[in-house]
Amino acid sequence: MAWGEFKDTAGERRLFQRRTLVMLVLVLLVLGGLLARMYQLQLVEHEIYTTLSDKNRVQVQSVPPPRGLVYDRNNLLLAENRPVFSVTVVPERVDDMPATLAGLQDILSIPDEDMTRFERRLGEYRRPFEAIPLSYDLSEDEIARMAVRRHEFPGVEVTAELVRHYPHSELTAHALGYVSRINREELQRIDSVNYAGTNYIGKSGIERFYEDVLHGTVGYQNVETNARGRILRVLERENPVPGEDLQLHLDLRMQRKAHQLLEGRRGTIIAIEPATGGILALASVPSFDANKFVTGIGVEEYRELSTSIDKPLFNRALRGQYPPGSTIKPMMAVAALDSGATTREKEIYDPGYFQLRDGGRRYRDWKRSGHGWVNLMESVAESCDVYFYEMGVEMGVDVMHRYLSAFGFGEDATLDVAGALEGILPSREWKRTNRNEPWYPGDSVNMSIGQGFFLATPLQLATATSLIANRGVWVEPRLLKDIPGDRPVEEFLPEGTHKPLELKNPDDWEYVVDTMEAVMHGPKGTARRASVGASYRMAGKSGTAQVFSLEEDEEYDAEEIRERLRDHALFVGFAPSDNPQIAVAVIVENGGGGSSVAAPVARELFDTWLEDLPAADKHSLIGQASTGDER
């Protein structure tokens, strides 16, 4: 036996029972005591701690960074931040929500939509004590009324935030894009820490493309707030890093000019500085007021904009896909010369139509009587279709596709232009995939004059024209010119990927430019009227794109067809032709003839850029010099 002593088993059990009873009493007393303590804290002193819990809090608040500003090339402000006052509600601090809302409706004009949205947010999950916005963009009167009666509404705050404002709203809406409230999908995507205090995000254009650069880095502050959440003092602060300012190639004066020229019509203008690829003007008319989208546009107003037959929200410059028509002829001329399909000397007889074989379908020339014997120079100057029909068949779709790809058709060749579309550069493969048909020679005929399946955006046309102006040197179109600071702009821009288009005979570039000069200045040039009185030489090509295709031999009477079915007027060109400073693409929808409607628009742009603006700059320099060192 291990424990050689007498053990009184029953006695030990009784002893243990007594001791357990003592412990049970202790347990009851202590747990009862804890329960009493809870009773004291939670019921007797509840009011004290509720007040403590609600007030005099030290909170960490995020400080949103001010969004970077956007300037044009002359440092004129295009996008700024303006303080906007909103009413927000912290539901936890509101005693009687229906009464509060009713009271607020008396002194503020709260649209029903805002009220519905607020009530929806009220039902959704949110962090406790998170403020819910009720009404945005108070008027001065409303701010004043709120200031007077604020004490009647505990839990209701007037908050100021910096909100994007576009001082030249309609002028720049399509060029800059806009910011708007962060939506649910974006909320999933963004860095929730850095956007902790940010309510807006770039939705389109430059605002979207340079979102990361413009946004900046969030800051923090530790604040002491009172019972109503009002900040009593800032204990500690880490300042936000403001977003970078952008300087664009855009020239506000050119932009304004472009809008003036398209006033009352539907159309688009793209102007590019060939040497830099910088976009000088990007106009799509009609436009819209981007400021309305920032603070939230009304449903009714939005429906009006989005269903308008004039499509003001549609960015024609980047997303409008038009048949390029005859404006493609200079690029086709480059292809035909370099591929050996033709020579500068070769002449073709144009009877007014083209047939793939005798007795086959007649592809009409725009000139019913025909151009007679023409060479390449005359064919471009007079826009002879038959010459290019024959070139198209001679080259075939593969050769055309190769050269037109090198001009940037069928792709988005831009560096930082968000939302640019690719158009359609048809090929055998494209037709098989999309139409489930082989490529017919007739398709090549249509493609040769920019018709058929071929679609290009105005930006693509301007880019290709710019490439001719640059004699084959690729400079991808871009909007960003500079970001102030030490870092070079190249750090912010994506890298260009295009190789220069090198011709077997580089002199062919000059020849093609000459053909485009003949369009503007030649005795039979289609757009010769647009060059009258010019002090410089210009190169260009007009075009007319059919809105719907006409049956063979069908008579066409512009007067009879409703205005919206009239042809689109197109023009591409650059000036001066030997030292190009500006390349443009102009499209006037349902404008009729390219040479009569679109070419004069381009001429005005050339004059403005080459003569009026330099003169104005000179004048203002003289003016500044005479007024001394004020600026």
Partner: protein
């Protein structure tokens, strides 16, 4: 004297129903109460950890391990614990010495032992089980109540690991381990005269502890308890914030996940030691009452198991383990509600982390073993 039935076929011999529970050696009532506590605890933890599902998952995994350990321990006959007690005690002391010599740790305290090939572990955690086991083994060898020399020797068994744990330093665990042993001595029947004498000694030695044993941070905690407002943004912060959280909960609380103190990050350690403040804030007085009643039912069941245990060793061990569980509750809720100084004691089976959940479930395994391994009493 207790007869050992080598076949362990005790259930039938007592005439009790032979059910699945006796086969598994689990006490269904205790198990249901524990599961109720753990499941509720996970919900509170989800809120306390600010909706971090990973934390909840990790805790659930820990509970799973703990339940497996409990099941395993419950299979062992209490006689096994008695036989192994001195050796486990010896191993524990060696482990504690090893921690002091070669332990690893954080925040200036060495608590962990990393032996290659084994998971990292805290010997002091295991001592919460081993010390009462060893003390019960020693005292139950002789008749009870124990004589004075045996009481002193029994207390020595308790004081040695306490001293080693204080050196780590870990005052909180040391006191818990010590109390587990002291409970055994109390249950063994130590005379009330001696108890009075000990209390007198403690009150005399308290000032000495203050000056010679307690570290500055520990003194600060006691001072802060006496006057939290003296340092509202420093050491008093925890107490003020947790009291505010509890008090603002009111009768029925702010609702699950709706607590403002914890979610606005005013409440520190909201998913570990201070989790009861989250519960109190979100479920109010009714929630706290439910929790305390649940704890009380567990304690009641365990005390019943202790009283009905068949030999002195089992009784002493079961009683001590039950009271240790109770001590956890008292110290934690007392601390969070501002009655006791801030000591790192988790709320049993609700606080996140540590090995405490596993140790606790192992202790319940011991209790279930005692409850389910009954044998016919010889004579």
């Amino acid at each position: 004297m207790v007869g050992v039935n080598p076949l362990g076929d005790e259930a039938g011999s007592l005439g009790r129903k032979h059910s699945i529970w006796t086969t598994l050696h689990l006490d269904p009532l205790l198990l249901v109460l524990l599961l109720l506590l753990m499941v509720g605890g996970l919900f509170v933890l989800y809120s306390g950890a600010d909706r971090n599902l990973l934390v909840v998952e990790a805790q659930a995994v820990r509970f799973g391990i703990g339940l497996v350990v409990m099941l395993f321990v419950a299979q062992l006959d209490p006689a096994v614990f008695r036989r192994w007690a001195p050796w486990l005690y010896l191993a524990g002391i060696i482990g504690l010495v090893a921690v002091l010599v070669a332990g690893i740790g954080a925040k200036g305290a060495q608590r962990w032992l990393a032996i290659p090939g084994l998971p990292r572990f805290q010997p002091s955690e295991g001592m919460k089980l081993v010390v009462p086991m060893a003390t019960a083994w020693y005292l139950s060898r002789y008749y009870l109540p124990p004589t004075f020399p045996r009481v002193m020797l029994g207390l020595l068994i308790v004081l040695l690991p306490m001293a080693l744990i204080i050196l780590q330093p870990d005052l909180g665990t040391s006191l818990l381990v010590g109390m587990a042993g002291v409970y055994v001595v109390f249950f063994a029947g130590i005379s009330w005269k001696l108890i009075t004498a000990f209390f007198a000694m403690i009150s005399v030695s308290a000032p000495l502890m203050w000056f010679f044993v307690m570290r500055d941070y520990q003194k600060q905690r006691v001072l802060t308890l006496l006057d939290p407002q003296s340092d509202p943004l420093g050491a008093g912060w925890n107490i003020i914030q947790s009291k505010t959280a509890i008090g603002s909960g009111g009768l029925d609380g702010k609702g699950w996940l709706q607590g403002t103190q914890s979610h606005l990050e005013f409440l520190p350690e909201s998913h570990t030691d201070f989790i009861v403040a989250v519960l109190a804030e979100e479920f109010g007085f009714l929630g706290m009452a439910a929790l305390i009643i649940l704890y009380f039912m567990i304690i009641l069941r365990c005390l019943y198991i202790s009283v009905t245990a068949q030999d002195s060793f089992s009784r002493l061990l079961a009683g001590a383990l039950t009271m240790t569980f109770f001590l956890y509750i008292f110290v934690n809720i007392g601390m969070v509600s501002g009655l006791l100084p801030v000591v790192g004691v988790p709320l049993p089976l609700i606080s996140y982390g540590g090995t405490s959940a596993i140790t606790l479930l192992a202790a319940f395994g011991v209790l279930m073993s005692i409850q389910t391994h009954r044998r016919m009493i010889a004579a």
